[in-house]
């Protein structure tokens, strides 16, 4: 124990001259530990202790967390578990100016370095860490109404901006893979149509469908060009972009880099390289330090690897009918003990109503993932065996991994009642990606602007293509509405102990 205490000090201050022993990564376990076990409780406390240690270390030497995670992730042999820890540390880190937080673009700095309403695509920054907005319902959760990001504004007026409620980040690795497979399916259809058009010398129309989701149709011309005016619910390049309320981002990596830039003013080296010259996004400083805060490479590609791994490895939500609440005693003298309730009948009825009302036509209960390998930058993660529990499982009958996402990963017109202020990434104001409903019960309030504190309000705001389903819900009787809500409340995250 003494030696291990010393080791911690050595690791942090690099005072140790002895080289570490060669690292051997552990085998990946296949048995699910119970998220409500004593081990999970102990681990929650260990995380809290680590956070505390890091706060003291940061107090001693500002920037320590960034340096530590940078140094520890540089090792090309770093185990997944180590990258995961680094990623989680980065996710929970409260960034400071020593880390490159914010920018120094204005000639005279404002009294507060934060700006709540974004200015154009550059962003705020409005905060100092990921957890600030992704906290509800557990780690990497959603945000409250007050946490809404105010995007694409003039830097001051709320009315100039588009409010976006921070979505929960559960299962984003799975979502990225699903979208990529759907994109690949669409690409095959397109390439096949082009091939046929070239061969036959005639126009070839082609219906677009991936995983049973229809994306309109295109026409391939003999010269290899395309008429994509009939394409629906996806960009003309047929790349399914599952992230962002409007479905504008294809990968966790891109979403993370973008968020670090616009919300914290932390510029990853990759973003600065890939988007070089995009001064609207990055700022007008030098090539290596576009936000002119004196910090280049604010996050290395390996740190980004770690952060992306942490996010991709997040557990997927569960779908669990409520079974029992008996045996609870009264919480205090004077209060009544809760009555036992079983809602299985309501749940079954609600599940059927979800289909009957038409909810399921966009909020597809299940999409099938064929390959569970998540790859981003320098990390590879098997989502079915290496991610956090609960995770996706192979189903022999369907030949893949059923994902209970409750989305078709396609855009739909939701009517004027939901129209955004700005066109976002080419997506018109009334169009939104079908919001995955998994984890719904853990991520209130709902809708893109977080304006719905109840399910009824969220449903009532559905317009456009969803107007009929809304009307059908409103026509239900009291018991039927109750049943549908009971079903929706069963879409939640696995309970897991945490020490904040």
């Amino acid at each position: 124990v003494k030696a291990r205490a010393a080791l911690f000090v050595c690791v942090l201050c690099s005072a140790c001259s002895e080289p570490p022993a060669p690292r051997v990564c552990p085998p990946v376990e296949l048995v699910a530990p119970d998220p409500l076990s004593i081990d999970a409780a102990r681990e929650a406390h260990r995380w809290a202790a680590l956070r505390r240690e890091l706060r003291f270390e940061e107090a001693r030497a500002p920037g320590a967390v960034m340096r530590l995670t940078s140094a520890r992730t540089e090792d090309p042999d770093a185990c997944l578990s180590e990258l995961y820890v680094a990623g989680r540390i980065l996710f929970e880190h409260e960034a400071s100016f020593a880390d490159g937080l914010g920018n120094q673009l204005a000639p005279v700095g404002p009294r507060s370095p934060f700006r709540r309403v974004h200015e154009g695509r550059f962003g705020g920054p409005e905060t100092n860490g990921c957890r600030s907005c992704h906290w509800r319902g557990g780690i990497a959760g959603g945000g409250g109404l007050v946490d809404d990001a105010l995007l694409f504004g003039d830097g001051d007026a709320v009315s100039s901006a588009d409010a976006r409620n921070p979505p929960a980040l559960s299962g984003v690795g799975v979502i990225e893979r699903l979208a990529a497979e759907m994109s690949a399916e669409l690409a095959v259809l397109r390439d096949d149509a082009i091939g046929q058009a070239r061969g036959s010398g005639a126009n070839v129309p082609r219906e677009l469908e991936a995983r049973g989701v229809r994306f309109g149709a295109l026409v391939a011309h003999p010269d290899g060009s395309l008429d994509t005016s009939g394409v629906e619910g996806v960009d003309a390049d047929l790349v399914v972009r599952p992230f962002g309320w409007k479905g504008t981002v294809a990968t966790v990596r891109e979403a993370s880099q973008n968020a670090l830039q616009i919300h914290m003013g932390l510029q990853t080296e990759e973003l600065v390289d890939e988007r070089a010259g995009d001064t609207e996004l990055l700022g007008t400083g030098s090539a290596s330090d576009p936000d002119r805060d004196g910090h280049a490479r604010e996050l290395t590609s390996r740190q980004l690897d770690a952060l992306v791994l942490f996010l991709a490895a997040q557990a997927v939500p569960i779908l669990r009918p409520h079974e029992r609440v008996d045996g609870l005693e009264r919480a205090a003298d004077g209060l009544l003990a809760p009555l036992g309730h079983v809602y299985v009948d309501e749940w079954i009825a609600g599940r059927a109503l979800f289909d009957d009302l038409g909810c399921a036509s966009c909020h597809r209960p299940q999409l099938l993932l064929l390959d569970a390998t998540f790859v981003s930058g320098g990390v590879t993660l098997d989502l079915a065996t290496e991610a956090e529990h609960p995770r996706i499982r192979y189903d022999g009958a369907s030949g893949g991994y059923p994902v209970f996402l409750f989305s078709d990963l396609r855009r739909h017109d939701l009517g004027d009642e939901n129209a955004s202020t700005h066109v976002d990434g080419g997506v018109p104001p009334r169009q939104w990606l079908t919001r995955p409903l998994w984890g719904l019960a853990s991520s209130a309030p709902w809708l893109h602007d977080g304006s719905a504190p109840s399910l009824d309000l969220a449903i009532a705001r559905h317009g456009g293509e969803a107007a009929e389903s809304r009307a059908a819900f409103e026509a239900l009787d009291f018991d039927q509405k109750g049943a549908l809500r009971i079903f929706l409340m069963s879409l939640r995250r696995q309970w897991r102990p945490a020490v904040p």
Partner: protein, 524 residues
């Protein structure tokens, strides 16, 4: 009730571990690791000596957290089945309280639910004063407010339940309803320890009132003008004079309103009680107007331009009459008064512990402690909570023992039974001028006067480590930034900090990062 098992400050264990010696060792051979997150994944990152509760304690904590979670889940399902059930479970009205059946423990449970409850339009969320309710507004419209939130927990969750708010959760007070630049920005403070703070403030106010009464008596009896140095709990509030007729001259009073009422809540210290600040927060953040306020508006005691001109039964014109009545406010106040107090938890690591100790000394030497008083002594821990509806003045108060009721840890007696309670809040509960750099866009009115733009209440620093960002508008990401932004009366202390060596500054920062809260297991 959420309890704490095991010692709070294991200083002895920490010291023992620290004295055990320091040396370098090669990384141990690979231990059996399982998944990404199982025990072992943190090896090499975290100090393995960090104090983790015993298995028995962990099981207890887990069972307790799970039970609370199951109760919440049951309430949510009842509400899904029959909307309105959840709200019913989160409220106790005045009639219920008058029955006397509910002790502090019951009020804690119900208040806890109410704190987390997401208000909806059907519960009175928002207002219909200039457009259909709820009319959400991120930037407040004048004193009317938002609403900008659905629940208390929306902005008070950072670092744990009832915690502080992040920068994204900043409130934009007294604005034009749209421009953030028009508003007075406030970062949500943590709510721990409010009970002892209010009890302290009441004691201090009582002392000042006694001094004033004695002064008036002395002046009128002697027929000559007299003066008294106002001081309570070791904190000086200037000088009060009275002429021969007993008329008061308050020009020498400093750091408190001229009515000598200590108002410890709000960044500028503008509300005297938990109840008052809770009622204000319900109104400006959620548009939930208390029945007592509606009655006062109807009686012409409150400004309808602020509270709404809809009359006694729906002042804020959202179609709901009873939004939060006295019993609910009493429940919320009783809950908040019973929350835990933050703790001082020194680092486990030996070198950090040495820095911590030196930082503690520097906190005094640099002058920080002259305003951020490490502790104030509370004599009477019994806090009365009284309804404020004008017609309920005769109801007996709910009595909360802030040293014993509710969540642990609590304030503790200094030495032995019968002595005072030490409230280690790191504040003098007095207002100070912080200079033009920190000044807010607007002054803030209290019942007893006006708080000028550059004047703030000394922010209690307890729980500091888990409440970043810092300062009233959250402009400071680190304590270093916060210290350097101090001006006005704090300029000498800031200069001393700026002039200190790097090591000393690191020591002070280390000390401040030990001001934290008890590590509590929960299931979000």
């Amino acid at each position: 009730m959420r309890s704490v098992r095991g010692p709070l400050l294991v200083l002895a264990a920490v010291l023992a571990a620290a004295l055990a010696g320091l040396g370098c060792a090669p990384e141990p051979a690979t231990t059996a690791r399982a998944g990404l997150l199982d025990e072992g994944a943190l090896d090499g990152w975290a100090n393995p000596n960090a104090t983790i509760p015993s298995d028995d304690a962990l099981l207890d904590q887990l069972a307790e957290a799970l039970e609370l979670r199951e109760r919440r889940e049951l309430d949510r399902l009842l509400d899904a089945r029959e909307p309105g059930e959840l709200f019913e479970h989160a409220m106790l009205d005045q009639n219920a309280l008058d029955s006397g059946a509910f002790g502090p423990a019951a009020l804690f449970v119900v208040g806890d639910d109410l704190f987390d409850f997401m208000f909806r339009p059907e519960n009175g969320l928002g207002n219909g004063l200039d457009g259909p309710p709820p009319h959400l507004r991120r930037v407040h419209l004048g004193e009317v407010g938002g609403p900008d939130a659905f629940a208390c927990s929306s902005c008070h969750s950072l670092g744990g339940l009832d915690g502080a708010g992040s920068n994204t959760q900043n409130a934009f007070f007294r604005g034009d309803g749209d421009l953030t630049s028009s508003a007075d920005v406030r970062n949500p403070p943590a709510l721990l320890g409010l009970g002892p703070v209010e009890a302290l403030a009441r004691e201090m106010s009582r002392d000042l009132a006694d001094a004033r009464a004695a002064l008036v008596a002395e002046a009128t009896a002697s027929g000559a003008s007299a003066s008294v140095a106002l001081e309570t709990h070791g904190v000086s509030f200037g000088e009060l004079r009275a002429d021969a007729t007993g008329r008061l001259d308050t020009r020498g009073v400093v750091g408190v309103d001229r009515d000598l009422v200590i108002r410890p809540f709000g960044w500028k210290g503008h509300q005297p009680t938990i109840r008052a600040i809770a009622a204000e927060a319900f109104r400006v953040h959620m548009g939930i107007v208390s029945v007592a306020d509606q009655v006062r508006v109807a009686r012409g005691e409150l400004d309808p331009a602020i509270y709404g001109d809809g009359g006694e039964f729906d002042a804020d014109r959202d179609g709901l009459s009873v939004e939060i009545e006295d019993g609910m406010l009493s429940t919320m106040s009783a809950y908040l008064a019973q929350l835990e107090v933050p703790i001082v938890a020194p680092p486990d690591d030996e070198l950090a512990l040495i820095r911590f100790a030196r930082g503690g000394a520097l906190f005094g030497d640099l002058g920080c402690a002259s305003c951020h008083r490490p502790s104030l002594e509370l004599a009477d821990p019994i806090l009365p909570i009284t309804p404020d509806h004008p017609d309920l003045a005769d109801r007996p108060p709910i009595l909360i023992d802030v040293a014993h009721d509710g969540d642990l840890p609590k304030v503790e007696q200094r030495v032995v039974f019968g002595s005072t309670y030490e409230v280690a809040l790191f504040s003098d509960l007095r207002r100070h001028d912080m200079g033009p750099e920190l000044a807010t866009p607007s002054a803030v009115a209290t019942v007893g006067g006006i708080v000028a733009p550059s004047v703030f209440l000394t922010r209690p620093l307890w729980g500091l480590a888990v409440s970043a960002p810092y300062l009233h508008d959250g402009r400071a990401p680190t304590v270093e930034d916060a210290i350097l932004a101090h001006g006005g009366e704090a300029a000498p202390a800031r200069d001393a900090f700026e002039a200190a060596s790097d090591d000393d500054r690191a020591a002070l920062r280390t000390f401040l990062m030990a001001l934290t809260r008890h590590a509590r297991l929960g299931i979000p």
